[in-house]
Amino acid sequence: MITLSDISPQSRNRVNPQLLTAAVLIFSAPVWLPAIGLYQYIGLEIAIWIIYAMGFNLLFGYTGLHSFGHGAYLGVGAYAFGLFQHNIAVNLLGGLLAAVAAAAIAGFLVALFLSHRRGLYYALLTIAFGQVFWFSAIKLRWLTGGEDGLLNIPRPPIELPGLSIDLNDNVTLYYLVAVILLAALFLLWRLDHSPFGRVLQAIRQNEMRTRFAGYDVWRFKVSAFTISAMFAGLAGGLFAMAQQSAYPDVMAVHQSGLIVMMVLVGGGLVNFWGPVYGVIIYYIARDFLGGITETWLLWYGLMFVIMVMYRPEGVAGMLHMVKGRFVKPSKLKQLGV
């Protein structure tokens, strides 16, 4: 089987061609999205979900910690953004910072509890905590607005000296999200390849050995969870802006499971870019298949099941193998594929 290190190369070039390609594609999206029969809002949603999925994969794919309740931190971010706008000030930066900070605190506290655990019990506790957040979001009506959620969250303008950019248009908001997405991708790329990121990957492969190499594994697990919750919170804040509301549904275990599915289908277990493919495939499937048949989720689920059975390395893994078949068969043999 292929693994993360096989595909993610030991990159030495500082300006990464893949990141550049991503930048070009991201910034030109509003131009070509309508041309391929899509609409602007889906670009917005995909971009936000990629931030979420990429941050999630730092934990899931790189550190090998299987969280099944990550929607909670997206939700916390969304609520924090909305509450900030409603109760403190209508301010973009403040709202986004509040979203990240709230998710960081929630993630950190949960990680303190989780990080002594491994494997199944870890996954289980993430579900339990996810449910606690979801349940609280529904029941704390005075704070969260209950099942309806927070409504009428404004989209505060970008305030620059002498310039104010209104974000009520989806394309303008998309460009803001695109900038943030690109920054997030760059940050995560460096993070995953930095010494810190290498230690996380070492923990995935062999927690005990990492400990005997002198690393305080617990701290690294707490950090990974907190960082990944922060990205979820950031995505949540942006999502609250896109939807102009925040509601408990994104925190349900169903939704947390969907992000796991996206990351796996895309190939997050074997490649940095896996979650990107996964999110795009999911949304395209939802819109194209969803247009044809009501039961698109059935087909998506079936595809997922078959993938887990025969191609758990996901789309990224398959692309890699196809590439290998045409380019360097010797390298492929070396990888044991």
Binding site: S5, Q10, R190, H193, A202, Q205, N206, F212, G214, Y215
Partner: protein, 247 residues
Amino acid sequence: MAVFEATGIHKRFGSSVVLEKIDLQFETGQISGIMGPNGAGKTTCFNVLTGRYKPDRGRIRFEDADITGLSPQQIAHRGISRSFQIMNLFDDSAVIENIMIALPQFYGDRKNIFRSAFDNEKLVGGAMAVLEQVGLSPKAWEPSKSLSYGDRRALEIGVALAANPRILFLDEPTQGLGANATLKLSNLINELRERYTIVIIEHDMNFLFDLADKISVIHWGQVIAEGSPFELRTNKWVQRSALGEVA
């Protein structure tokens, strides 16, 4: 005075006592061997000495400091490094990454979240130097899961060496190796003896008799004999126990 000293180590799992009362001393610059029949408690002893298990009674001292009950990572920071009997590599990673992560410089850089580890010439150079020592530098960029069994052993020792330890514990290094690979390993350890204090657990007695300065024999959870390989060959206790046929 011994650089590493364990006194009165007692360890039980539930109701079964694995280590009754173990006393061991290891001297600076020497190769010390621990041997004994299967099930004698060698590996448990090793795990207690290197911090994987806490002893129920007894003290462990290293360089005049009490290290009893410290966590594995704290013990690693004191300069104690170990290899594993069941090979415990980072299988997904390239050979060089396995070494890199164990380097003290890498540890110092562990909170760096921004600069790519492979951009750092010091890290790459440091890892290559260790690979040189264990004879794996030509295979540095290969995935570690593609290595031969003998090379994996060497890498296992390399990972332990990378931490620049003051004392090196090797757990059954010849396990599963053929005659050729064992000879190679023996040469490797002989080269290392000038720079490191080494403790080896081993059931292959010829291997230990060739290498060690001092050997302790563990049986029934106790040290039943101790001395130079020469002394042990003539020791009645050892001859009478299961090990006798070698002497």
